[in-house]
Assembly symmetry: C2
Homo-oligomer: 211 residues x 2
Amino acid sequence: MIPSEETDVLERPVRDRSQTEARIRAAAKAVLAEDGFKAFGINAVARRAGCDKQLIYRYFGGLSGLIETVGGDLGTWVREHIPEDSGGMFLLTYGDLMERLALLFLDALRADPLVRQIAAWELAEESDEVRRLSEARSRALAGWIDRMKGSLQPAKGVDATVTNAVILAAIQQLVLASVTSGRFAGVTLKSEKDWDKVRGALKRVVHGVYG
Amino acid sequence: MIPSEETDVLERPVRDRSQTEARIRAAAKAVLAEDGFKAFGINAVARRAGCDKQLIYRYFGGLSGLIETVGGDLGTWVREHIPEDSGGMFLLTYGDLMERLALLFLDALRADPLVRQIAAWELAEESDEVRRLSEARSRALAGWIDRMKGSLQPAKGVDATVTNAVILAAIQQLVLASVTSGRFAGVTLKSEKDWDKVRGALKRVVHGVYG
DNA sequence: CCCGCTCGTCACCGGGCGGTGAGTAGGAAG
DNA sequence: CTTCCTACTCACCGCCCGGTGACGAGCGGG
């Protein structure tokens, strides 16, 4: 292959620090989302960003700093992916609210490989970096729940926090399992029909506890 | 350190193939359970077993064969860890049955690091070996449910398979999250008091859907 | 023009990984 | 005692990892 002027121009480094930093950040998210946390590392990110790994050390102080930056970006994930309002519905009961929250969470998690990988990472490894990542995600989600529920209160005698955790845990587990194995506990999780069944079960569960 | 006769005896190889195979199998489970699936590999297992990794290739045909063997042993896990009978209770309703199943599954999973690691592994990676491992676990669990439920039937109109999957998914996710991060969705999962809250929420959920 | 600073690259290090071929030790059979 | 088979070990390969020190390339300010 004869090097043309165009490739020469394209392969020339940008020499713009902020732009390069952005490229590295984007590459980090892409590697994590597409190749999984197992493949996540200095070399993989640098390769993806098309620059030398030394720049990651210079600009972010190594992997941990880069992860921290990604976690910072993640704070906006909830706002980007889950609608803030009630979608034009009048949520009469706490059960209605939780049903809507559960279904939104299900679809949002299914659609976002980056957050899925972070969730799976959290289950696989305990390190400070991962912990900070998942804590950012967890805090954002909790804040969103608080904001959304407004003045609605569950029936007395029901520990809403723990019950909601159970429901969200079920959703997260099913979504994570669907990606890698496509099934859980004898239930296939592939087609949209499968997910409709899950939605139905979730609705029944939610209204079973909250009325 | 002067080599004593005792250490000499202890470090001497066993020269008994079946016994060495058993040592390797035990080492594999120990590495997986204690160090996690990330650390699982030929070198780690051989180091743990105190023999050369070559033996793993010779006796098991490499890592995949060894994993398969572990999966085979896993088929007996359910029978070992979850009681077959109804614990002297008369399970009058399907809801009672599922409550008991849920609580048993919760405790069994909390107590078994090996199975926890396999479950986490399944969420982190998609490979044939891991798939076979988790399928063995899944099949065993499903068979146990079938055996236990006997002739009890849930209320009509409720998809018991999917609903049960939702409940088991919640339990698995909460247990896995508790090990690495000690919390999920704002709920701390450390003390037995925390788990009592979870048990309460699970009971409410189960009897909410099944009556 | 050249200095100096920043952006970027390259080569290299030690170490752990999965994988393999060649060689050793030790007990049973003759 | 020798033979032979089997259990077992050792040394080595190539690869990729995270991490670092030294070197060039380009651009703005004197």
